[in-house]
């Protein structure tokens, strides 16, 4: 019990630090250097993976742009999206909790980058020439090619887009395009153009705290790139869980954002 208490206290301290430090609208650190960089695993096969940082375990989001941390600076938006964002802020003030921009209550999964900011954990798998991110919420998978192949010219749009990555020292830099335009590029904004480009810089900032700095670029939405930071706490003793949204989803949201719940039990249920 004593050991548990100490561990919990330490965890609480770590989480508190993470929460305090996380989630500012800061600029990405572009000075990362390092030679381990070449260790994408592509050239050296599985031997190359031993040179990559240890990101094993399960990562729980503890500080996200809209929860648990300092809110980021407001985005600089084009007029059309500024109006949408202002309406969102106003509606949030007058009727807090209304789910007006999210279709996830209908089990439509979030696109990137919202998929990385869901409440349940993520996990990283390294294999030669590839980093795979498993996202528990909605059971999403991101395949990030680190074998040096370029982004395709004009990929077909998908929820998680098309990603390539490279290592700058111990920082994984991921570039993603081809994200479905009906997805949300940030909290309060619904939709974007086919030009949306997401850059993520992922690195350990403490032995068990992972930071992801996410920059959004879309000239039709953002006047200048918009960057937020999220932090994740490592849990080596957690296991990822299955999350099939269609298993028992009684919730819904209509086209106006009004939430509903079905509590009728059909025979046999």
């Amino acid at each position: 019990m004593e050991r548990l208490r100490i561990r919990v206290a330490l965890t609480a301290a770590a989480v508190a630090l993470g929460a305090l430090a996380g989630c500012t609208g800061s600029n990405a650190d572009s000075s990362a250097t390092g030679q381990a960089a070449a260790a994408s695993g592509a050239q050296n096969g599985y031997a190359g993976i031993a040179q990559l940082p240890d990101w094993s375990g399960v990562w729980e989001p503890v500080a996200r742009p809209n929860r648990g941390g300092t809110p980021p600076e407001p985005p600089k938006l084009t007029p059309a999206y500024a109006a949408q964002y202002a309406a969102y802020q106003e509606k949030n003030r007058t009727t807090p909790g209304i789910n007006f921009i999210s279709n996830v209550a209908n089990c439509v999964p979030p696109g990137l980058p919202a998929s990385m900011l869901q409440p349940y954990p993520i996990e990283f798998l390294f294999s030669p020439g590839r980093v795979t991110i498993l996202i528990e919420t909605y059971s999403l998978v991101r395949r990030i090619y680190t074998d040096g192949s370029p982004l395709p010219e004009d990929p077909d749009p998908t929820y998680q887009g098309t990603s390539v990555g490279h290592w700058e020292g111990d920082t994984l830099v991921v570039e993603t395009i081809g994200i479905l335009p009906e997805t949300s590029p940030m909290s309060g904004i619904n939709g974007h153009s086919e030009k949306l480009r997401i850059t993520e810089r992922i690195r350990l900032v403490e032995p068990d705290v992972l930071e992801i700095v996410t920059t959004r670029e879309d000239p039709e939405v953002f006047v200048e790139p918009y960057t937020t930071t999220a932090r994740y706490q490592r849990h080596r003793d957690w296991k990822m869980m299955e999350y099939i949204c269609a298993q028992n989803n009684r919730d819904s949201v209509d086209e106006h954002g009004n939430p509903g719940i079905d509590i009728e039990r059909k025979p046999g249920e």
Partner: protein, 131 residues
């Protein structure tokens, strides 16, 4: 749920105060009177350990003596499963009290916050409110 598991769940909840904003992950909480705790006593008809939400279906004797069934949505296995709960924490026939936030529209349902067992033990089922 044994006592150790309950202690563990309670301690983890303390950590969670610092880590999480309260609320349901998957949808808006606007259909519930969020924060208004009500209590209802009954017998579990079914406990659904399902994504994206767990459900307690509770058989209750209504004010007029008539049998009623209530539906309580709860946090997901992804949340509860890491805080001491599992698919066997509640089972058919268990007598208990459910503390919940009621549906605004008056239907017989809500979002469960904790359950209280006949011996008085409380099992928390949500992030503890930090305010």
């Amino acid at each position: 749920m044994n006592v150790q598991m309950l202690m563990r769940a309670a301690l983890v909840c303390l950590v969670t105060v610092l880590a999480s904003a309260p609320g349901a992950a998957h949808h808006s909480t606007a259909m519930f009177e969020w924060g208004k705790e009500m209590t209802l006593e009954g017998t579990v008809d079914k406990y659904e350990w399902t994504q994206p939400h767990t459900f307690i279906w509770l058989n209750v004797t209504g004010k007029n003596g008539k049998a009623e069934q209530w539906a309580f949505e709860g946090m997901s296995p992804s949340w509860l499963g890491r805080r001491g709960w599992n698919s066997r924490t509640l089972k058919q026939g268990d007598a208990l009290k459910v503390v919940y936030y009621p549906l605004r529209d008056g239907r017989k349902g809500g979002f469960y916050v904790r359950v209280i067992l006949p011996d008085g033990r409380k099992i928390e089922a949500m992030p503890q409110r930090s305010s």
